[in-house]
């Protein structure tokens, strides 16, 4: 029987494809999207709405963390871009999809971000514990730093000083009364958030470790606390939280550029 060469090639290709299928999937999943960063002179802010897709994050008070973080990220983007024409904002996810921490960091790093803010809602086992908390990456671990240098996936260790300053600034702006934003839900001239400050803390956070720029994670409230869950459910209050975050980020960027001049 004479062999058909076209048939043989097809068979070989199909066999190769079937064995390589999982590896192809892995490559597609971890490749950060390509972007032309040379086309903008704006300051890039990356907002990371934590969790998404099958990863709900924390849950409580009838809400899911992944929904609140996406809503807050969109609000914060809007506020930052209207606060300054020199700021351009990118979200690490724009819909309810699962994105790996590596892809989020890759996305931010490929866009040369100046600031990275990861938005979360906390779950504190003590239901009476209330308020927001600001985290920056913990370099206080035995791994990550060796005599040869810093592991690439823990590049955030290079930015600890700036991230510490950013965390302190975010905490300060979240707890301080600000002049109410025009059209905000606040009746008073001052906008003071009802959320308590649980302060600033270091943690070995997956969402920050591969980020090559000053970065913080903000837990906007405790979903195990009825009052906090109520605040985060309220769109008006979420808008006010984002206004305080926006002011902190804008002032951090101003401080950074003043230091550079």
């Amino acid at each position: 029987m004479k062999r058909n060469p076209r048939f043989n090639h097809l068979t070989a290709a199909l066999l190769a494809l079937s064995f390589m299928a999982p590896f192809c999937g892995a490559v597609v999943n971890t490749m950060p999207p390509v972007v032309d960063i040379s086309s903008t002179s704006k300051t890039i802010v990356i907002i990371d709405p934590a969790h998404g897709g099958g990863d709900y994050g924390s849950t409580g008070g009838g809400i899911r963390e992944k929904d609140i973080t996406l809503k807050a990220a969109r609000l914060l983007k809007q506020k930052l871009e209207s606060a300054s024409a020199d700021i351009q904002v990118f979200l690490t996810r724009g819909s309810d999809t699962a994105v790996t921490p590596e892809d989020r960091a890759g996305f931010a790093n490929s866009r040369n971000g100046a600031v990275y803010i990861s938005l979360h809602c906390d779950y504190v086992p003590s239901a009476s514990s209330e308020g927001y908390m600001v985290f920056y990456y913990s370099g206080d671990r035995l791994s990550g730093v060796s005599p040869q240098g810093i592991e690439w996936q823990k590049v955030q260790l290079l930015h600890l000083a700036d991230s510490t300053a950013l965390a302190a600034l975010v905490d300060q702006y979240m707890k301080s009364p600000l002049i109410a934003a025009p059209g905000s839900a606040v009746q008073d001239a001052n906008d003071t958030l009802p959320l308590a400050s649980r302060g600033v803390r270091q943690s070995a956070l997956l969402c920050l470790e591969g980020v090559n720029m000053p970065a913080v994670a903000v837990e906007m409230g405790n979903l195990n606390n009825t009052a906090d869950a109520g605040y985060l459910k309220d769109d008006g209050m979420l808008g006010r939280i984002c206004y305080h975050l926006e002011e902190a980020i804008v002032n951090f960027i101003k401080g950074q550029s003043a230091r550079r001049q």
Partner: protein, 205 residues
């Protein structure tokens, strides 16, 4: 006979070959997908330790006073609580006793549970650099509420309790079901070695 018409026998053999080939390709795709998405696993779980097992880890009746860190009911941190274990010839066996007690003791008044439900200690061993490897059952990760604070409290309740009582432990590496895992429940990384964070309880080391 027309040259282009194949004999029936050859066509039947070719058809059978094609069916066999299709079956092999389908099997390869399914096998790869199953391995990639972890639909089955080859790992054999070692026997889990039971609460009564810590009796196996002492070597006498001499009691040692220890302190463990549970979740505080009124703050977002940890709170110390007294505990008694028995002396052992093997220091790591004292740690096993301590953890078994922590995992099996329900929260008393003023405390909350921060160790995820049904977590069990599979094994604990040390290396020559003072790093303690803790192999925990997958309930530690599966039953942990997602949230930076809940995940941190689960980790540091264990790490702080060990480092406070056993100063020779320089760091703790947490394994889940005998393997490295990326995170506790979506937020806190398990990739590194943890050192104690006594800020969570305001107790000095």
């Amino acid at each position: 006979m027309d040259k282009k018409v194949r004999p029936e026998k050859t066509t039947a053999v070719r058809r059978q070959f094609l069916y066999a080939l299709a079956a092999v390709i389908l099997f390869a795709i399914l096998y790869n997908a199953a391995t990639y998405y972890g639909w089955f696993s080859y790992s054999v779980k070692p026997r889990l330790l039971n609460v009564s097992d810590y009796k196996l880890y002492d070597s006498g009746k001499k009691k040692i006073k220890a302190v463990v860190f549970f979740g505080a009911a009124d703050t977002d941190g940890l709170k110390p609580a007294p505990c008694v274990i028995f002396e052992s010839n093997q220091p790591v066996n004292e740690i096993k006793q301590l953890l078994e007690k922590m995992f099996s003791t329900p929260a008393a008044a003023g405390y909350v549970n921060v160790i995820p439900d049904s977590t069990q200690l599979r094994e604990a061993y040390q290396d020559k650099n003072g790093i303690l490897y803790l192999d925990l059952s997958d309930e530690f990760s599966k039953n942990c509420k997602s949230g930076i604070t809940s995940e941190n409290l689960a980790v540091y309740s264990i790490v702080d309790s060990i480092c406070y009582n056993f100063p020779w432990v320089k760091g703790v590496k947490i394994l889940i079901d005998g393997a490295e895992k990326q995170d506790v429940a979506g937020n806190v990384s398990l990739e590194g070695v943890f050192r104690p964070d006594m800020n969570l309880s305001a107790v000095k080391l």
